[in-house]
Each structure stands twice: as structure tokens, then as C-alpha cells.
Amino acid sequence: MNSHAFAALAHIPILVFPVGPIPRAAFEKYAAEIRTFDSIRLGDIPAGMKDERARFMPNPLSSGYLYLSYPSHPPPPRHMSLSLFRPSHFTLGIIGVAACSSSYSLASALEQFENTVLDIFPEGSTFPLAKVCLAFEDEESAGSTGLGDTLPGIVSIPSVMGNKKLYIGTLLADLCSHILAELGRVYHVLESPIGNEYLNSALFPTLPSPSEMPLSLSSGNLGYPSYSSQPELESSGLAMSGIQIKRSSTAGPGISHTASLIQRQTILGPPAVRKRISAVGAVSSHGRLYKVLGDFFLLAGRTEDASLWYAEAIVLFKTGQDPVWHGSVLEGMATVFVLDAWSAGQGLQSSVSNNGIKEPWADIYDQLSQAIALYHKAPAPSEPSQDHSLLALTYCTAVMRQTSLLFCTWSTKGWGALAFASMLQPASTSYTQKTTSDNSWTNLERISIVSGVSRSQIANTVSQAHGPWLLHLGPHERLNILQSMATIYSSLGYKRKEAFILREVISCIMDLIVCGREENDLSRKSDVGSANTGNRSENGDEVSAVGKGAVGVRQNEILEGNQSILKLLVRACKVLGVDLEAVGVATATDGNSSEAGGRDSNGFAVEDLEGLADAARESFGWPELQVGVIREAIAVAEALPDPLAVARISLSALRTMHSVLASSDQYHLYQTAGRALAAMRRRGDAPAVEYWAGNPIMSLALLPLALHRLPIENPFSILTAKSSATNSLLSGIIDPFLYNPRKSSGPQSKNLIVQDEPIELTITLRNPYVFDLEIQSISLSTTGVEFESSPVSALVIPPNTLYSITIIGTAKTRGTLVFRGCIVQAPWGAPREFLLPVPTDADQNLFARRQSAVRCESGRTKYWGLDSLPWEKDGRRLSTLLPSLKNPPQFLQCVVVPEQPLLRIRWTSLTHGAVMLYNGEESTIRLTLENISALPIDFIRLSFEDSTIGPAQEALSEGELSVFETYETEYDLLHRKAFSWRNEKEITNILPNQKVVLSVTCVGKVGCAHGTVHISYSQVNRDHEEQVPVPEVFYTRQLSYPVTVTVYHMLECHDMRLMPMIDVDYDDISRRASNSAIHHLPEVDNLKEWCLFAIDVRNTYGLPFEVTFEREQAGTESAAVSSTVPPGSMSRIMLPVKKFRLSDDQISQPIPTLSDRQFVVGKSKLSIEEEQAQRELFWYREELLKIVSARWKEVIYSSLIIFVADIHWFRRTGDRHGDLSLRQQRLTLPMLKALRTDVVQIDLTLIVDNPDGSPQELDYSGGKYIASPNEMLYLRVEVANSSCSPFLKNLSHSAR
């Protein structure tokens, strides 16, 4: 900003630079002391000269000021042509600062000072006008430096001097006096006719060098005196001595011109000048001369004189064709106006009231506008020369001056003393920064209203400086202008415009860097001095310093410069909505990264969840611009070169903008990042980029263990309790509630894994990009017990897909294992942990709410423009809307159980696991088990299930069955199991690598299609864990062997009858039954005590079967009846059964339930009698079924071999046999009567008296008694009581 101070035209620039070996800190200190003098009172200027040099000397009692500025570097030599047009652009004075010590004498300091001056300012240049070298004495070497020697051109300041500042002020005043004197000399040259011709010779003329004056005077050559065309070698000695004499304070008059007629007069009237000039007889207009005079007076602090001469010049320029000089006059007048206002208002601190119609600064503004317009319209110089560049510079400076007027007024809240101060000495007032530091819109707008200058007005003014003409400028000026523009836009809060300008700034710097690298040897020389004095102001001035540093010193890697450029980039990109720092630089080393991960794990988790919600958010910004700016940023970073930044920028862009990037761009960015990272790897840098590719982990799941490996938790109590298979089998679905809330709210089912056995986890990864995403490694992040897994490395995820990988790991000790998530590492990046919480219901609820809140927001625009930048908006809006996750996240958790033995089925007796049975047939399945672990098995238990159990249990649990049916079903479940293990005690121990054989009995049961044998086993007694308190649970493993069962239903029993023997028509029976029961009848001694059991057996199968019914009854011999039932036919089997009678106690018992079911409610609404009858039926049937059993046997006929193709089948069926169930049969009341022994047996016999008097039974044949008529018969009644209790009966009879 320094170079664009509004009042720069009135500043005397003085260059301060170090001389000799002076420490930087010391130099800075002394230079700062010098720089505190930003103005010098005219009264302090020593005036003592009498000749033409006295022209610009102040009046003895004048009250004005000289304004000093301290640029950090001299203007480049190219600007030399401006020397007369704009003297304030040049360093009029030079101060060398040397530190003298015993080893560094004054003389050597002076010599070096002179050499440096010659280096910086080529001989022949007009400036500097005065110079002085200040030699500060070190504290240590006080008195030893020979300060006594007084050398011309160097002033030594002893360290013992008390008030250095005062002395420096005096010295500065002295220097200024010399400068003013030299200005007088210069003007003296110009006002001569030849000088005036020189002045008018070109657009930007230069002062003829003293040595050239007579020459050009004599030859009349008025050509353009370029210093570069001067023969340097020949004239160097002469010029040097001349200059030196001229500048040194002690020299006498060195120039041959006679003293001017014009003495130093206070009232130097224009008429006199005009007269004088006309007397000389010059042909050129004097407008430029007057303008120069005005400029010099302005520099000398004599504003009245300056405005006088400016007014003169204006008059001449009005008609003339010299717009550039005209414009310059206007600029000068504007400066004079402000200076006057400053001196008038200084100390009053009161704003000039702006109650007029126009703003007070409007006149100045108009003047400057006029000047700008004049510059703008200036005719282009005919030949392409420096003039283009200088004209553009003049134009831009004028625009900046106008801007400065507005900006200073605006930032100091109005036209007043503060505004003047900041216009005069912008560096001295930090007020601007203070007012504009609060960048909120309200504050800025408040300033606008207070000051009466609107921000858009300032912006429009400053934008005039921006145009193609910037290309005319030299690099440093261009940077300077652009940087000032950026600063102003930034202060105004116009961030986008600032970003626009910053892009240009960056391009400028980068161009310099790139070009400077090619010719770095050449350009470094010109940078002497500025390297040390590069000062930084607060806002944005770093740019110029960076530019210089990067051009000049490239050998030593000063990272500061590069970082500053990157900072600018980031700033510019942020405005466009691109966050170049989205991917962080990994700073943590391995040691504390884990700590960090543990500390803010919740934060990560929340972030992850938010990341999911991001998808619903709308994008911000202008995608095309964003892509462009990213490309440029990468180009910049590549040119620096800063591979880390390249990688960061490209990866950040990929991360944040992959939705708007074209696929080619994505691919390109990925490639670029890869290249940059590879370059870093070559250079041996540590991996430095955080993981970038969003959240790649979609899910983490524990693959369930294979069933035979899965441990099952059991309480220890089941070992001690007697096995109650009954319960488990019959209970079935015991939960009486349809919806049991306690069931679901119970602890989550634990994942059990076994120590030292591998488990598998699937990780689903996502690649949202269009290229193959490469991942260097993925490993699991676990807490809890030690878990050993090998990370998956060198993984490539295809574009736009989900991708699953499996990680195998082993838990090393028992305990609890928690899978927090995954640690993902991109190639050459830092690993990053991604947490995968298992969301609870509340979490999911919350997440859904967040998502809907985001989605609800997405269509609305509460904030717009830069306020709607994603990172700004979320902080304000969503944070208040969205509920935050409170609970710590839950993770996938596993219980590691101790090592378990492992069993396998080595061999079975079944082929293909299938068994084919006839109904009721019994078969044995042999399973050979082998313990393939190193642990012994001391607990083994078998359980079975088959397809009949389920339906039966269901029927039971529904409770719709009658008591009788319930009993039948339960009986079926308990006593007729399809599978059973008879000899349970046979195997108790299986040692490692031992084989044992299990025999499982399988019974054919109709309806059974398949079954399973479950073998539960475990090692219960562990000796080596005695010290541990006895655990409450132990773990078993289960081996299951499924069996496919085919049961052929071949024999059906029908129509069971029980008949009293007495009524049987035996002829009929013998006809119906082939193998009748007749031959059993002989044992039936007393027909009344027997009844006949008859049943039809039907063969529905294709083979004949022999059916045997057996009777096992107490008190009788056992008997059996066999019959062969041919296929498709039915046989009736008859078997006499002796009647029996059950005691009353027995039959009055209720029908039992075989299970311990509690809620058996008698559904039947039977009366007591009916119930009694049912119970009686039930108990008699039970008894009958105990007595009579049926078996079947396969009958093999030789002819059958023809039909039976399956030899194998045939061979095995040789002795196939089985039981035939009679439980389907029902007992009815008549049958019961036949079966039950009557309580009273009455036997009636007709007896006739024999002739001999003995009674004789009457003849009985054919069921009839044949009595002869008229014979007396006796009726013998035998009554037998077959019950257990005596009873009385009446006997009455009647005959018909």
C-alpha cells in the first residue's frame, strides 16, 4: 500500500539500506528508528544556500512539513524516464546504515557505501539527489573505531550518544536540505532553454546529464538522451567525480552554469518567469516546466507555490496536446488540496462538516477522474518503447490514488483528520485495519453510511485499474497494483472479486518463479538490498516479498514463500467453494495416532454418520469455475514444486467434488496425486496425506461360524440336573405370548468365537469414483483381547462399485473382543481409522431424523451467496436443527470362548445319508466320530429331531386336542421316537485323534421324511483352569448329521373287534379266515371267560407280509396267530383274549398326561358319567394293547425275485421285520363289554331227573335244549361273583 498512498506525490522517498557486515537485527533496529520520522517540519530544515539551490528551501518561519517515505527498494531502471515527470517516484535520498566496529572502519564502510550506491543507481541517473551513510557504533567496541576521523559522506554515531533519535532527526533534516537544494539545481538546468527543449522532447523526458549539456548545446542535438546509450567506460571517471562532488555536502559549485537570475523569492510570480523564458526565446510551451516546478514545490512542502504553478500549467495544457502531463497536473492539484486540508484540520480532530450539497471530496474525485480519463485517452506512443509501460503505470497509479481517496475516507468513517492522516501516511495509521477487521456485512455497511462512500463506488473505482494494460507493467508494479486491488476488495468484503484478483496475483508470482528459475543467475544480482529490507505489512503485503524471495533465492529451500503462495491459493479457492485443505496433512506419528484415535473416537463416529448425510446436501458454487481453479491450483503447486500440495489439492478436489467432476477430470486428478505422491516417495519423505477417499467402509460383518464349529453356551447346571429330554421334547413352543417384549429387549445375541480358531470378517468397501481406487492396506481396528489378523494389502476397487473383502483373524486369548472398525491406508498416505458403530435403534432413529432434516433443508435457501458455503452453513443452521448423538457408539462385539475340541463324522453306515424303512421297522445307523482336535472330549450328548416332531408339538401347543388325543400324541412323541440312542453310557470320553462309533436306532414312522442327529460335545473338565472361579457356563459344539428317511406304509389295521366267544359262528369264521383262530380255541376252556379279538389287516404295498399277532396275558399261555397278507388284500386276524377286569381304582384315574404341561384344561364338556365311561375305555384299551402286540415280517417268495430288480434291496430284506402299531384302533363300548369280565355270571342249566333219580342235564344240541314233554325240569341257576366284593342279589325269574 505504501506506494499507493494518496499523497505519494508529496513524499520524499528515502532509501535505507545496510552497508557492510551489519547484523540483520541491528539494521532493522536502526532502520526502524530512522523510519519513525515520517515528516519533518519545514522550520527544521537548515537553509544556508544562496544560489539556485535555495529556490525550494522553506521560508524561515514557514509552518509546513516535508513528508518522507521509506520505500524498501529503488524503482527499477526502466522507470528512469519518469524522473522528471514524477520525481516523487524515485528515491531522492539514500541513507546507508553501517555498523562500525574495531574490525570495520569508517573508511571501509564509506567505500562499500559508495560501491553499493553505484550498484543500485547506474551513473548518469538523476537520482538520488543526496546521500548519507550513518555508521552506528557497536556497544562493545565503543571508542575503538576511530570516530574521530571525519570522512565526508559518512556520519558516525557513537554508541554512547544519549538521544540518538534527535540526532538522526537532525541528520534527516540535513539530508532533506540537500535534497531540496539539488531539486533547485535540477530545476535550474530545466529552466534553461535547452533544458526546456529536453523537457518537451518526449513523452517522458529525462534530465540531460551534466556532462552532456554542453555537448548537446553545441551540437543542437536534441535527441532522446538515454542513459543506456552513454559510453560508460569513457565517461565513468568523470561522471563519478562530478556526481560525487555535486552530491557531497562539502563540495563547492561544480557546474559551470552561472548563478540564475532568479533568486530565491517567496513571491515568485509567474509573470516574471514568463518574462524570463520569453527572453531566452524557447519555442516549446512552458506547461511542463511549470508542472515540474509545481511538483518540486509540492515535494518541498510549499503547497501555495505548488498550486500556483499547477494552475499556470493547467492554463497552458488546456489547449495543448499533452494529456498525460495535464493529467499529472490534476493529480498534483488533488494532492495539494488534501495537504492543505490536512494542515488546516490537523490537531482539530473535527470532521469537516459535510452539510453541503456535494461531498467535500467530490471535487478531488472529479479532478482525479479527469486525470484518469486523460491518461486513458492519451495517444499511444508511436514506437513501442518503455513509454507504454510507464503510461500504463501512470494510469494505474492515478486510479489507485482515486481509490485511495475513497477508501481512506470510507475506512476512517468520513472526511476528516483521520482520513487525511491515512492518505498522507497510510503506514502510520493502523486505523484502516481496525475498522475493517470486522468483516461482517453490517459493519461494512455501517461504515459506508457513516462515511458517505458506498462500497460499490470504491469497487467500481478500483476496477478501472484492471484491464489489459496490466500486461504493460513490469512484474513488480503489476504485482503491486494487483495486490493493492486485492487488499481493497478484501477490506470491502468483496471476497469473490478478491479471489479474482488473487488468481492474477498468483499467476504473476508463478510466472516470475518459472521464468526466474530459467535465468536465476542473472536476476539475482538485481535483488541486492531488497532481500534484507523486504518488509511485510499486515495484509497481503507478503506477496511482494514472496515474489522477490522466490525469484532471488532459489537454492536454499525457503518453504515460507511456497507456503504463502499456497495460502493465497487456498484463500482464493475457498471463496469459490473449493476447500483445498479438505484432506489434511498427517502430522501424527505412529505413537500418538492411536491415542488420538481413542480420544476423539466419538467425534469420528459422528463425522462418519454425518458423512452419510452429506449425500443429500446440495452443492455450492460454480462447477466450471471450481474445476478451472483446481486445475490452476494444481499447476501452481506443480510449478513450485510442492508434491505434497499437489497431492493434497487433487485429493481434496476428488473428495469434495467428485460429484461434479467429469470422469476424465477425476482420472486426471487421481493420476496427478499418484505422481506427486510417488515423487515424495522418491525423495524419501514420510507419508503425509490423510486418507482422503471419503468413507470407503460400508459395513463390517462377522461371518457366522460353520455350524459344526459354532460354540453354544450352556449353563453348568444342566450337567448336574438329570436329563429331562421329555420336557424339551414335549414342551415345544412354550412361550404362551404372541408378542413377548422381554424376548427382544434382552441382551443382543452374543457372537461367540473360539480362541485360537480363525474367524472371517467381511468388509464391504465402496468406490464412488470412476477410476480404480487403490488401497494400500486395510486392517481391522479392535479393542479388547488380542486379535491377530493379517491386513489386506494392495487392493484395487473397481470404479463405482461395492466390493467385499474377507479378512481372516484369530483371537489369541479369551475375553471380549470389540471390532471398532477398519484402518484404511491409501497408497502413500497416512492410515486412518474408520469406525463402524453398530447402530442401536435410538441411533438409527436419530440418524433418520438428521437425514430428513438435511433433506428438508436442501430445497430452501436460508442463506445465500457466500453464506451458503457448505462449511459455513452447517455450522449455523444444521447444528441447531440436528440432534446430536449422545450415546457412545456401540461396536460389533464378540465373546471369545476358550479353545474347544472339534469332532467330525468320519464314516457312517448310510449311503447318501438316506435310510429306507417300512413302517415300524427298526434300523441302526452307525456313525464313526473322530476327535480331530488336541483336546479330549469328556461330554457328549445326542439329541434328535425329525419331521414328525414339529407338527405334533404344534398340535399339542394349540391345545385343541381332546385329552385322549393329547395322550396319544404325547405317547407317540415319547415312546415311538424316530431316532434314539439306546446305549447312552457307552461313550463318555473321546481322546484326541480317537475314533468312536455311535449307534443310533431309527424306527420307521409314517410321516417322517427327514431327521437330524445332533451330537453335542465339549470338554467340560479343564484341569489347567482350576484357579479361575468356576464359570457358570460352558460351551459345547454341535455336530449335526442329517438323515433322509423314507418310510413305506404297507400294512393297515382296520376294524378291530372284540366279540364274546359265545356268540361266534365258528363255521363262518373258518370260512373267512384262512388261518383261523380255531386251533387256538382248544385252549379256550371256558367260553365265557374269553372273548375274541379280531382285526382286519390290509396290505397296501406290493409285497406280501406275514403278520403275527401275539398275546401275552397273565394266567394264560402266550399264543400267536400268524397270517400272510398278500399284496392288495385284507386278512382278518382273530385271537382269543381272556377277559379281564380292572379294579375300580384303576379305571377311575384320569387320563394321564405324559408331560408336565401345566395349562391342560379339560376342554370337553362331558358329564361325570360320560367322563367315567371314557376313562374306563381308556384304561381297558391300554390294558388290551399291553396284551396284544402285532409284528410283521417280510415274506420272500422265490418268484418275487423277478419283480424286484434291486438286488441290494432284496438282499437286505431277508429278515426285515417290525412292529405293527395298533394304537390307531379305538375301543368302543360294546367291545368293552366283550372284553370286561362280567361282575356276575349266571349260568342257567335245565336239569331233568334221571330215572335213577340223579339229576342229569338236559340234552343240549344246536343251542337248544330238547326237553320231552310233560316232564319236570329243574332250572339250575349258578351265580358266580367275579368281583372282589361280596354282594347280594335278588333272583326272580319268569318263564314264557
Binding site: 499511444a380 507504454h388 500504463a392 469497487a459 467500481n460 455450492f620 460454480w622 501452481v636
Partner: protein, 180 residues
């Protein structure tokens, strides 16, 4: 002479843009300052600066000088977008203070004048133009507004999604031909 129209959503995302080349000839108003530009550097970064400062279009129109200055539609287009984006600063500033929807010549940058139209829904229509055509631009903006409203009546169209309707495009073009 060309006009550039951008419809910007509240989040600064363009949902429609149009470049209209008018048949009217631009009056040469360029300054001598921008003539005779030097080819000061050949590095790529110089090209960026050249483009951003508006120099490439200047050289294009005056004297085309070889490939020293990188130019082309893409680069220029980028610059125009940058200008349109940068002008949002002034537009936002002005629209907070003034209730008018039509912001006439609200900003100037390089050779471009920026006029804007702010709908009540905070959509910003930005037109970059070189010459003064106040009434025409006003009418054009009102036409575009009406067309935009008709598009927004579509219940499936959200405020942030780009307008891809061909009908909209044709009508805007017709209006541009008529007024600009």
C-alpha cells in the same frame, strides 16, 4: 458483440447459461492503453493473467498476433464466468440495500458491464454486456423471469437443479434476439 446470461441459484450454482451474439456492431471504445500489448512471457501462468486481465480478448479484436497469447473460447469463457461470479459481490451488496429487482449496470469489470435481476426467490440473473441498452435488457430480464417462473411451476423441478428444458432455451434465445 456478445451477451452472456447466467441464471444463478442462491448457492451460486449456475442453472442456466446463454451466450448470445448480437448482430449489432460494437463501437470501438478501447483505449490506447490496451493496444500494442507486449508478449511478456510465455509461461502458462502468464496466459492465465493475460486472460483474466481481459488482454486476450483485446488482442483478439485488434491484432491477432500468433500463438504467444493463449486464447480460445474456453479460456475466455472461464474469464467471463469469473467476472459473472465476482460481480455477485456487488449484486449482493446492492440488493440488500435496494428493493429493486432490476439492478442496472451494477458492476463493471474489464470491458464488461454487468446488469442483474434478482427474483424474490433469490435467483440471480446476470447479464454481461458491452454496450448500454437499458430498456432492452430490462425487457429481456422480465421475459426470462416469466419463463423461469413457468419452469419452476413444474413440481419436479427444484430450485437447484439445472434447467435443461429445450422450450425454455428456445424462448430465452428468441427473447435475446428480440431485445439485445
Amino acid at each position: 458483440m456478445s451477451h452472456h446470461l447466467f441464471l444463478l441459484s442462491p448457492s451460486d450454482t449456475p442453472i442456466y447459461n446463454l451466450t448470445h451474439y448480437s448482430t449489432k456492431l460494437p463501437q470501438p471504445t478501447s483505449s490506447s492503453l490496451s493496444s500494442n500489448l507486449p508478449t511478456w512471457s510465455t509461461s502458462a501462468f502468464a496466459g492465465t493473467l493475460t486472460a483474466l486481465s481481459g488482454a486476450s480478448s483485446a488482442t483478439q479484436s485488434h491484432h491477432v498476433q500468433g500463438g504467444a497469447v493463449r486464447m480460445g473460447g474456453g479460456q475466455d469463457r472461464h474469464v467471463i464466468q469469473m467476472i459473472a461470479n465476482a460481480s455477485l459481490d456487488v449484486i449482493e451488496d446492492v440488493m440488500r440495500k435496494e428493493s429493486a429487482m432490476y439492478l442496472k449496470s451494477v458492476d463493471k469489470f474489464n470491458e464488461w458491464t454487468v446488469s442483474a435481476f434478482v427474483t424474490p426467490g433469490n435467483m440471480k440473473f446476470i447479464l454481461l454486456h458491452e454496450t448500454k441498452n437499458d430498456d432492452g435488457i430490462r425487457s429481456f430480464f422480465h421475459d426470462v423471469w416469466e419463463l423461469y417462473l413457468k419452469t419452476m411451476l413444474n413440481p419436479f423441478h427444484t430450485a437447484h437443479s439445472p434447467i435443461r428444458s429445450i422450450v425454455f432455451d428456445t424462448r430465452v434465445r428468441a427473447s435475446a434476439k428480440k431485445y439485445l
